[in-house]
């Protein structure tokens, strides 16, 4: 790895630019450089690893012990990446990508435009919006946020902490807290009972997958140590200046718990603002209840030369993100003439075989942890758009009375999706609410149009931007 220190060190052109240094991005860069492809990896964070392996290169033994084997397993990938020939710039924000693969990158208060003959978007996932009443109160965070605090700062919450929602991450976080001897007040499991029935056809695949033993052990251990309320709905956070209690119903009985921290989680979804901004075609996936970029087996999107891999393509987890990153890098290497057809076929076949057990396990997880329908769209007294503070009731009324057809029309009425997060926290909920009220599929409703810059950049940085052929504000056109 050639660790770059500033934008000045960036060349104007690379054969491959990878956006994101998580499992998919690192695996792709390793494979591409092995084939002699001149590769640059850009990442927004201060160190490699992405979210799943955050701070892996600086983790203390105690943190590794608390975070568990899967996390520690990321160290080898990180080491291989560090030993690869890829150039890498940390704290680099990609705020623009065009169909001719020109990237706007900012770093340390400066910005620059560079071009990749191929671009791989490996920007991962973000947590699915969980628009319940009170989710904006200080003290309410995502389970992912708690993991980040644990990985990067060795910080834990307490003493009265409640986890609410559904999905593997919820149980993993609980087990990590237990490993650190930090007590949890309760887990509010929102998984609907009927999920089990829907998941059963995929049980054999799951049992044959590496996820089975791990998951079973995790859940058993946590259940023994923590009070778990099952079949939870009507979830709401309450408090004035910060969260003070959570109210919910468990199997039909009402409960209220006083707490300091409420962590929400019901799955993750691809972060797709960058791909949307360049006009990649998307399809609605009813199984994972989110959008997926349409891509070939090798990860090429509808825009030639732009590829996607990892959880930014579909939610398959860290192990499959590695396979996906490598697969995309093979495709890219072949398209650049860096490997021949025979080597390509051979390596692809090998990858497919190795990844199969993991894929079979995911179908079960998707169905077992399918979010509760009522949590996908906002309750009447919940904010749907956190930035512009649009209530669920306002959203419902406006869609109903003004016969709103789609999210972009809604922007004009409510400003939802127009705040600083650029729709990342409300896009899915808004699309699904409109779809529900119109009685059509989310596919027919569409999503917010996303325009560059997809990350904040100062006017000064744009004004000072210079390239051979364009200057300053022209770059945004």
């Amino acid at each position: 790895m050639i660790s770059l220190q500033s934008l000045m060190n960036l060349d104007d052109r690379y054969e491959l630019i990878v956006i994101g240094a998580g499992p998919a991005g690192m695996a792709a860069a390793i494979e591409a450089t092995r084939n002699g492809v001149k590769t640059l990896v850009l990442d927004e964070n201060g160190a490699i690893g992405g979210q799943i392996y955050r701070s892996i290169t600086t983790a203390t033994p105690k943190r590794l012990a608390v975070l568990g084997k899967d996390y520690a397993g990321g160290a080898e990938l990180a080491r291989t990446f560090t030993e690869s020939g890829a150039a890498y710039l940390a704290k680099a924000t990609v705020w623009r990508l065009t169909a001719d693969r020109e990237l706007g990158v900012s770093h340390d208060g400066m910005a620059k435009l560079i071009t990749g003959e191929r671009v791989l978007v490996a920007t991962g996932a973000l947590e699915r919006p969980f628009p319940i009443a009170g989710w904006t109160l200080p003290g309410v965070m995502t389970a992912g946020a708690a993991q980040i605090l644990l990985k990067a700062s060795g910080a834990v919450m307490g003493p009265k902490m409640v986890l609410a929602g559904s999905g593997p991450l919820l149980w993993l976080l609980a087990s990590q807290y237990l490993a650190a001897d930090v007590p949890l007040l309760a887990i509010l499991d929102t998984t609907p009972r009927k999920n089990v029935l829907r998941a059963i056809p995929h049980l054999p695949g799951f049992m044959a997958s590496p996820y089975f033993r791990k998951g079973l052990g995790l859940v058993t251990k946590v259940r023994r140590a923590v009070r778990v309320y099952k079949n939870v709905d009507k979830l709401r956070a309450e408090g004035s200046e910060r969260v003070e209690r959570v109210r919910f119903s468990a199997s039909g009985k009402e409960h209220s718990l006083e707490l300091d921290h409420l962590l929400l989680h019901h799955g993750v979804v691809p972060e797709m603002n960058l791909l949307r901004s360049v006009g990649c075609e998307m399809a609605w996936d009813e199984e994972q209840i989110c959008w997926h970029p349409i891509a070939s087996a090798g990860g090429e999107t509808s825009i030639p030369g732009i590829y996607v891999a990892g959880d930014g393509r579909a939610i398959y987890g860290a192990e499959l993100a590695r396979f996906g990153g490598r697969r995309a890098a093979l495709e890219i290497s072949k398209s650049l003439g860096a490997i021949d057809g025979a080597a390509f076929e051979h390596l692809c076949a090998q990858l497919e075989q190795e990844s199969r057990p993991f894929i079979r396990g995911r179908f079960f997880l998707d169905r077992m942890f399918r979010p509760r329908r009522e949590h996908l769209t906002p309750a009447h007294d919940a904010l749907v758009c956190r930035c512009e503070e649009v209530l669920g009731s306002t959203l419902h009324d406006t869609i109903f009375r003004l016969k709103v057809l789609g999210p972009n029309q809604l922007k004009a009425f409510l400003r939802s999706g127009m705040g600083p997060c650029q729709g990342r926290q409300c896009s899915l909920s808004v699309t699904q609410t409109i779809a529900k009220l119109r009685g059509v599929s989310p596919e027919d409703v569409g999503a917010y149009r996303i325009r560059p810059p997809v990350k904040p950049i100062t006017v000064g940085q744009i004004a000072n931007l210079q390239t051979r052929h364009k200057r300053g504000l022209e770059c945004l056109q």
Binding site: S55, T58, T136, G139, M141, T142, L150, S153, P420
Partner: protein, 99 residues
């Protein structure tokens, strides 16, 4: 309140949060430093003045906007602490859009 596990990393730096000097660990994001220093509200919203605090810690919710070394609306979760950094929360006692 957040607390730190008994860890082995002891490299610390001093930063200022709303004119208060606090000691934080190298590697902390500003958002983590704020939470670990007992700050519960890091900004009030421009629409209604409601209190907000870091929510996602990974740069996608934009709730943790604070002023860092005089530059407003920085994402506290995406900036690592540095020695002598001056952090100010963005709490407005008289909220409301002024356009």
């Amino acid at each position: 309140m957040l607390r730190r596990l008994d860890d082995f990393s002891t490299q610390t730096v001093r930063i200022s949060i709303d004119d208060r000097t606090v000691e934080v660990q190298v590697g902390d994001s500003v958002a983590a430093a704020l939470l670990l220093s007992g700050v519960t509200t890091t900004r009030t919203t421009v629409v209604s003045g409601a209190p907000r605090a870091p929510y996602c810690m990974m740069g996608v919710c934009f709730e943790c906007l604070v002023t860092i070394d005089g530059v407003a609306n920085r994402q506290a979760c995406m900036v690592k602490v540095e020695k002598g950094m001056n952090v100010r929360t963005q709490i407005d006692r008289h909220p409301g859009r002024t356009t």
